[in-house]
């Protein structure tokens, strides 16, 4: 029996095991929505803005490892998900976005709600397709899920014209995909892996630098094994947090622009850098010419373009991180040496790192007047017994969360790294909560980021999704204000938010619990009350607008040249002195 395009769409999703679709309807996708509401297998979450749908699908994907699915209409529906696509592309999130398109006979005529969906999304998707014939629909959907979730994952957009969703075709869901131009390398080159293992055995000051790739490839066990048999310390990028237990003695926490002092110092002085599923982003490397100057570099990545893109690699290994590490561990175990010997060999190195750690630990001073954001994150970390899925937005609060909320498991840290999308956190938390209704999902955000997608509060309320929103409200775009203080003589151009909504009333308006803490003494009780509450909660916590995030590698600075506290002239300015700091325009300043 023939099925309509819309029926084929739903059947195909069912075959792919899709449980949830996020999105918003519109004219050209009505046929699809009509079929969607007549079936029970797939839950549809109606968002209040398409950007929310894209980020929810991302949150769902990051927390589960499965592809997130969004369904939106043509024109503005599609243009509203572009940020989500670009975010997913940067952070390698498996996402399949279905967009409606005007009927094929109208394409190119500037029809109502028409946009060039594949044209607009081309630079921010791994792959995209306009389906012109209903007979190709099932095959295209099969390929879309395969491409989105295999190799280096990423977003795939499938554009479905209205007439294609109405037309009929025989339906048989293909059981396999064969794409002659797409065949990711999984197993690494055996010779290269052996070479790397030999270097690892020899190294005296090695360090493992892990990115998001280790999480997508489910390589946490292999990574831990590698670190433990070789006794090599592990640092993680913002995207890699959770791939190695943050509380493990070999964990050095996050590196990079706001990484810990000891971590960046260890990077700078290492003699062997083992990069695992990471891409040497400028926020990690700082000034490239002075990055890891003494290191031999082993780089494992499934995406060949990540290797030698910004930084050289002596031993490049293209392959799936899990597969490569597993093989490497077998070789390492077969070589001479055991963990005790390895530990002895690395003892001076670990001692050195420990000395750096003691010299400059992460620190802040909490008084009894103003709440420090770090204090809130630390309290949250204690109160949740370190077990929560944490979604963040972008800015200072994100960095404080990365520094103080030490995740122990992969897929529990959802953040926007590459694109740095403010507004990501809250919808991502909803997506994760939909996937795991019984787990604790925190959204650590700020008043600036939260206001970018707060319309989705109604989704949390409607579906009783108990997301705990911890809003670090300092009334400023904190990171922008910090840069202005450090590099623009304290001229706060457009960074002070001035008029803010009453977030407790706002929560109330959406029918969820709102709580507020204004003094340090109130923080713990508010957090406790919020965490205890059964439904969604918005905790508005007023924090110090002038707290800066340290350590900090100024953009374009070298890794070992960190600022550890406010510079003297800024301290002086805080006390009413002149705010003077010369900026050498252009000197080593990276595109910020």
């Amino acid at each position: 029996m023939k099925k309509t395009g819309a029926e084929i769409f739903c059947e195909s999703l069912r075959h792919e095991g899709v449980k949830t679709v996020f999105g918003l309807p519109g004219g050209v996708v009505l046929k699809i929505f009509d079929v969607l509401c007549q079936q029970k297998d797939i839950q549809f979450i109606l968002t209040r803005h398409e950007q929310g749908a894209a980020h929810m699908a991302e949150g769902y994907a990051k927390a589960t490892g499965k592809a997130g699915v969004a369904l939106v209409t043509s024109g503005p529906g599609m243009t509203n998900i572009v940020t989500g696509l670009a975010d997913a592309y940067m952070d390698s999130v498996p996402l399949v976005a279905f967009t409606g398109q005007v009927s094929t006979d109208l394409i190119g005529n500037d029809a109502f709600q028409e946009a060039d969906n594949v044209g607009i999304s081309r630079p921010c998707t791994k792959h995209n397709v306009l389906v012109k014939d209903v007979n190709d629909l099932a095959q295209t959907i099969k390929e879309a899920f395969y491409i989105a979730t295999s190799g280096r994952p990423g977003p795939v957009l499938v554009d479905i014209p209205k007439d294609v969703s109405i037309a009929k075709a025989d339906f048989k869901y293909p059981d396999k995909v064969s794409l002659r131009g797409y065949n990711p390398t999984i197993g690494g080159n055996k010779y290269q892996i052996k070479q790397a293992a030999e270097e690892i055995m020899r190294a005296k000051k090695p360090i493992i630098y892990v990115g998001g790739g280790a999480i997508f490839s489910d390589a946490a066990d292999e990574l831990r094994e590698l670190a433990e048999i070789t006794q090599i310390p592990v640092t993680m990028t913002l995207m890699g947090l959770g791939s190695f237990p943050g509380s493990h003695p070999l964990s050095l926490g996050m590196l990079g622009m706001h990484g810990a002092y000891w971590t960046n110092m260890a990077m700078h002085h290492c003699d062997l850098l083992i990069a695992v599923g990471a891409r040497f982003d400028d926020r990690v490397t700082g000034k490239l010419s002075e990055f890891c100057p003494e290191a031999r570099v082993v780089h494992i990545d499934i995406d060949p373009t990540s290797i030698k893109k910004t930084f050289h690699a002596h031993i490049p290994i293209v392959g799936d991180v899990k597969t490569v590490l597993r093989e490497m561990n077998v070789i390492l175990r077969s070589m001479d040496g055991n963990p005790a010997e390895m530990k002895a060999l690395k003892a001076p190195w670990m001692k050195q790192i420990d000395d750096w750690k003691k010299a400059h630990p992460l620190s802040y001073k909490q008084d009894d007047k103003v709440v420090k954001p770090q204090f809130v994150v630390e309290k949250l970390y204690e109160l949740t017994k370190h077990e929560a899925i944490v979604a963040t937005d972008v800015g200072q609060h994100q960095m404080f969360a990365a520094q103080y909320f030490k995740g122990n498991r992969p897929r529990t840290w959802l953040t926007s790294g590459g694109l740095g999308t403010m507004g990501f956190g809250f919808p991502a938390a909803i997506g994760a909560q939909v996937a795991f209704p019984d787990r604790l999902v925190l959204c650590i955000t700020s008043e600036g980021s939260f206001q970018m997608n707060l319309q989705e509060l109604v989704v949390a309320a409607e579906h009783k999704l108990p997301v705990k929103i911890v809003l670090l409200n300092n009334g400023v775009h904190g990171m922008v204000r910090q840069w202005q203080d450090l590099f623009y003589e304290g001229r706060y151009s457009a960074s002070l938010l001035g008029k803010l909504p009453d977030f407790v009333k706002l929560a109330d308006a959406y029918g969820i619990l709102g709580l507020r803490a204004e003094k340090p003494g109130e923080v713990e009780s508010v957090l406790k009350e919020g965490l205890k509450h059964k439904g969604p909660v918005l905790m508005d916590i007023h924090t110090d607008p002038f707290e800066n995030c340290y350590p900090m590698i100024p953009a374009g600075g070298a890794q070992h040249e960190m600022m550890l506290e406010d510079p003297p002239e800024l301290k002086l300015a805080r006390k009413g002195g002149p705010h003077k700091r010369k900026v050498d325009e252009g000197e080593g300043v990276l595109p910020a």
């Binding site: 081309r122 002659r180 131009g181 390398t185 060949p304 373009t305 030698k308 893109k309 490049p316």
Partner: protein, 173 residues
């Protein structure tokens, strides 16, 4: 350094845009570009002339390989190859220059494919040096219009067995 890259792609709409978009998005240059179907009607060959240091060319090759519809990428500059370009050159010919124009065309084994009372249209095929040399010689007569195909290239059969210098793991099979 200049590189000629052959890119075998699926013959589908939007593929050229993806390949060209990759160059513009990452700030790579396209010096010339030519596209045409191959013997197999489901594929097309894109020949791109680009300029960059080794690091950039390596990235270009890898980025091209990453495109789902790209089937094969070859940097011909790494092997022995032949390249050709065709140009059609419409020259002004005053009566006293008409013989000179024919003489120049003859020297280059170029053909005069169209003629009017005041112009000749010269067709030339050759490597880029030959085409440019002819253009330079015709310039003094006054070139009214010039159109070039962009370069196409093919590897020489005798050296086909020479192994590429690139790491095998980084290339698509």
């Amino acid at each position: 350094m200049e590189h000629i890259i052959s890119v075998l792609v699926e013959n589908k709409f939007g593929v050229l845009a993806r390949v060209a978009g990759l160059f513009s998005a990452r700030g790579y240059n396209i010096e010339s570009l030519s596209v045409a179907p191959t013997l197999d009607p489901t594929t097309s060959m894109i020949t791109i002339v680009t300029v960059g240091d080794d690091r950039i060319i390596e990235q270009i090759m890898k980025q091209l390989n990453k495109v789902v519809e790209v089937l094969k990428v070859v940097d011909l500059t790494e092997t022995h190859f032949l390249d050709r370009e065709t140009a059609l050159i419409k020259v002004h010919t005053k009566p006293e220059h008409r013989d000179e124009a024919i003489r120049i065309a003859d020297i280059f084994r170029a053909k005069i494919v169209d003629s009017s009372s005041t112009t000749y249209t010269v067709e030339i095929t050759g490597d880029v040096d030959k085409v440019e040399a002819l253009i330079n010689l015709l310039k003094p007569l006054g070139i009214k219009e010039l159109i070039r195909t962009g370069r196409i290239a093919i590897s020489r059969e005798t050296t086909r067995t020479a192994s590429p210098r690139r790491e095998p793991a980084l290339l698509k099979s």
